[in-house]
Symmetry: C2
């Protein structure tokens, strides 16, 4: 058969020949900017020409420090298609970590939003960075001291066309570091092949089901696991894109949904909790979200309450699960036939079924595969052409480090020599194949020799109609080793004077479903739970707080 490599050219060529008139709309602060994909392609050609002129060669890393905006999409196309590697840096990281990542990745160019660049003022960039380009994210009052080439000027002065090279599907297209919630950030190097296959998988009818008729709004940042691959999926399917820049509050999202006619959107649950809260309190009218039909949601466990909450407004929430190491999608909660209504209801809040192309297994502590009984927990392991088989190390052969510096490995080899990614998540698999995450291995709470699933308790707390967010962490305990402590935030319209009252209500409700020793020792009400750089609840901060109680 034809030796057509699975490279992102396939996506670019398709957009050029079929979807030139589709659009990307960016909601900058104070300005809604639309461009056709034809313009995006033309500008990404100019960008590639400018980067080549600046000395960027195949395999070189080009770092971005940018919000979800049109220029970031141009970088998504230009950098991999010219054979370089797009290194998306988490904009929420502290300056010193950003510098560390630039150094580790040996980035040759840094393209940064002007407001983000301003945060690096006074910080010395590593010597590997030969060129800094500033893009205009239209932030107010954020001059930046560092001399930087202007993105628009660079494009304007660049050659209007670029001779795109032939690429090998095994060459790297992107680099993304994990958020580091489980240790120091680790780099995942995506190949063109893995990215194209993951993009194809986002088009499956049973799954994300991206279609030409969709207007897709990735709220999850483009610096975080490729915004779940949705930008590339939208381009391949011919869907239009709506990008919220850095404005992800309910009012801003509603404004973008309204003006771009967004049909599907994705973000972590915390963002949607705020939207749901606004919908319920009447601050946001459903009419403004009239076009929004579905939300593939993940990044943290999605509660049944949240799914039911949006269903009441006619919006379908699909539970998804992934991680930076899996490009990132691995599971999508697709309803199966042959389940009875009770089973179907129970399955709905599971993380989902493996996407075609992903194979999963759960391994018990004794190295055996756990039975698929929906009860026996084990470490979730994944095998897929879009799952990582090592972490990025610029000094290692093939840039790949199969073992962590401390000798532990996130990768396993089975008896047939097949490689598996160890996710570090504890899960059960039921007889229908639904994977249900019990906990992050490190989030399990060990009390008196027994394990307590923080996620199970959190799910129980979220059943309470007044609760917006919940997180349960372990607190060191001299007698029991660890004891659970819960942190909760209330829905805006359900705030109370007496916070102890809600604690009593929650304990009473939880005790119907949990053993006494599984109940939290304390329930602390906060105005909002602390978030990490990817918008997930920061359990490390909560653990520190719990330890001081």
């Amino acid at each position: 058969m034809q030796d057509v490599p699975l490279t992102l050219d396939l996506v670019r060529d398709r957009v050029e020949s079929l979807y030139a008139a589709k659009t990307v709309t960016t909601r900058f602060p104070g300005a809604l900017v639309s461009a056709t994909y034809a313009e995006v392609l033309e500008r990404s050609g100019r960008l590639a020409a400018a980067l080549a002129e600046a000395g960027v060669r195949q395999g070189d890393r080009v770092a971005t420090l940018a919000w979800n905006a049109q220029h970031h999409l141009e970088l998504y196309l230009a950098v991999p298609c010219m054979g370089a590697v797009l290194h998306t840096i988490n904009a929420r990281l502290p300056a010193e970590t950003i510098v560390l990542l630039l150094e580790q990745a040996e980035d040759r160019v840094l393209v940064a939003d002007r407001s983000l660049l301003a945060r690096l003022d006074g910080v010395a960039l590593p010597a590997c960075v030969r060129l800094v380009v500033a893009t205009d994210d239209r932030a107010e009052g954020s001059p930046c001291d560092r001399p930087a080439a202007d993105y628009e000027a660079l494009l304007a002065s660049s050659k209007p066309t670029f001779d795109w090279p032939e690429l090998d599907e095994r060459q790297a297209s992107g680099l993304c570091y994990t958020s580091g919630t489980t240790g120091s950030p680790k780099g995942v190097l995506y190949s063109h092949r893995s990215t194209v296959l993951h993009t194809m998988a986002c088009l499956f009818a049973d799954g994300i089901a991206m279609r030409e008729r969709d207007v897709c709004m990735p709220v999850v940042p483009m610096f975080h696991a490729n915004a779940w691959g949705f930008p590339y999926a939208a381009l391949l399917a011919g869907a239009s894109l709506a990008l919220p820049c850095r404005q992800t509050d309910p009012e801003s999202l509603a404004a973008l949904i309204e003006s771009a006619g967004v049909t599907m959107a994705t973000a972590v649950p915390t963002v949607w909790l705020d939207v749901l809260d606004a919908l319920r309190s009447g601050r946001l009218s459903r009419e403004r979200l009239a076009t929004l039909k579905r939300i593939p949601m993940g990044g943290a466990a999605v509660s049944e309450a949240l799914i039911a909450g949006f269903a009441a407004f006619g919006i379908e929430v699909t539970h998804c699960w992934g991680m930076t190491e899996i490009s990132p999608l691995g599971l999508v909660n697709v309803p199966r036939t042959s389940l009875d209504s009770r089973e179907a209801a129970a399955a709905r809040s599971a993380q989902g079924l493996p996407i075609p192309g992903c194979t999963v297994r759960t391994m018990t502590d004794n190295g055996k595969e756990a039975p698929r009984d929906g009860a026996t927990p084990g470490e979730l392991q994944i095998r897929s052409p879009w799952a990582a088989d090592g972490y990025f190390d610029s000094a290692a052969p093939g840039n790949r480090l199969p073992e962590a510096a401390d000798g532990t490995s996130a990768f396993a080899t089975d008896a047939r020599g097949r490689r598996w990614l160890r996710t570090g998540d504890i899960a059960t698999i039921d007889r229908y194949g639904y994977v249900r995450l019990v906990d992050r291995a490190k989030d399990l709470i060990k009390s008196g020799g027994e394990w307590i699933s923080s996620q199970a308790v959190e799910g129980g707390i979220l059943e309470h109609p007044d609760i917006l967010e919940a997180a349960v962490v372990g607190r060191p305990d001299p007698r029991w080793q660890e004891r659970p402590v819960a942190f909760v935030a209330l829905r805006q319209d359900r705030r109370r004077r007496d916070e102890a009252e809600i604690g009593r209500e929650l304990l009473a409700a939880l005790s119907l479903h949990f053993a006494k020793w599984q109940l939290p020792d304390a329930i602390i009400v906060l105005p909002a739970l602390p978030k990490g750089t990817t918008g997930k609840v920061d359990k490390m901060a909560l653990r520190a707080r719990a330890a001081k109680l």
Copy 2:
């Protein structure tokens, strides 16, 4: 990223872990037989063990001569997954051609339905065939003289498990010869990679959109271009299968649709014309087809009349286009947004948009790419990881012959060194990307120096409510070189005494849309149009008949 090869193991493993309880139902003459996929997998393991025991090694060809039935599905799984090559032989070919193909493919084993094997009685098989296995297709009165191993006995005596080997994605998985309507049959060797990518493409939401909830009935034979890839797609998506064996008349199909709950089905238009005719005449009630929602249809041009005819019964027909050389799907008619209603109506009967993963172009006689204006015709060329880059030749290096024996090539190389498949079809592409086949290059009629599109005239004839089928061919003409002659068959409930009357009506109707010189010189009414081995109208036979007029 993990080096997970794109091999059919991915499909088999997924069925095993997720879809073991889904079913394949075969409607044999006189018997409806169902089996779970778990049983199919178990039996395909036994089959692989038996074939290995019989000396089948990696790369060996195993021929099948079989209708659409469970045992054929078992062969679809066992043969490629053991590293051998599944050579599906067209059961409608004459015995001498079958022998020729066995010889050309150097098939080591022939697995044949007993009734089909009976047709080879008295014919010497080539020496390469070391083992003949007979499967029971439950045909009445077809004893066969040739000594052959019994398929069921082979499975029963085989080892219950098989140690499936690790495969390379570039190794061959299947071999299928073209129907030879354009010359002698040419073999297309599919790789695991091309088959898996094609299978993934059948799951795209904008497209075939195979889903777990589907019950898929491929009426198109499994010996013809892998039944359009639908068996593998159903397995990957977890859809159940309903197989009609060799019974494809409207009553038989209705019986299978009813008993298996078929939701989507595929066959060539001639099969569906009969079904529509039966629906309209009341011989078939719509209730019996209640579960049937959609029909991806192709293999020959699908008329607007046929699409509208099924739409009236609430069944959606999607025009598709492919060929053996493209695994076979290349185009699917997906509705696009941004078309106005007039454009959308016009687009509906086009062959469709290229599937993501396929790139198309049309090349004019002067070697230039034709503009995408919906008017300028050119030869349709395709580039895709599931398009052929040569024909099978067991003696050639890599089994690949890039040129035909007569020096012509079905393959082209562009200025960038990229390879394209020359389809031999003449097409236009409009500004939205819809490809519309004007004609097979060889079906164009050259009259007085001008081209007449046989398909355009056929489409015009099919607008007439009494017409079931139409074919227009060229008849040699001393003055004009060629002149068009039309053959038609009437709907069963619209047959008339005076056949000349329908000819006059058709000419009157056609003259509203066609120039006088484009009108057929004669319109011949036949009880039914002659069909070739794949169910398509046999234009060669009609040309011979026209020449004698």
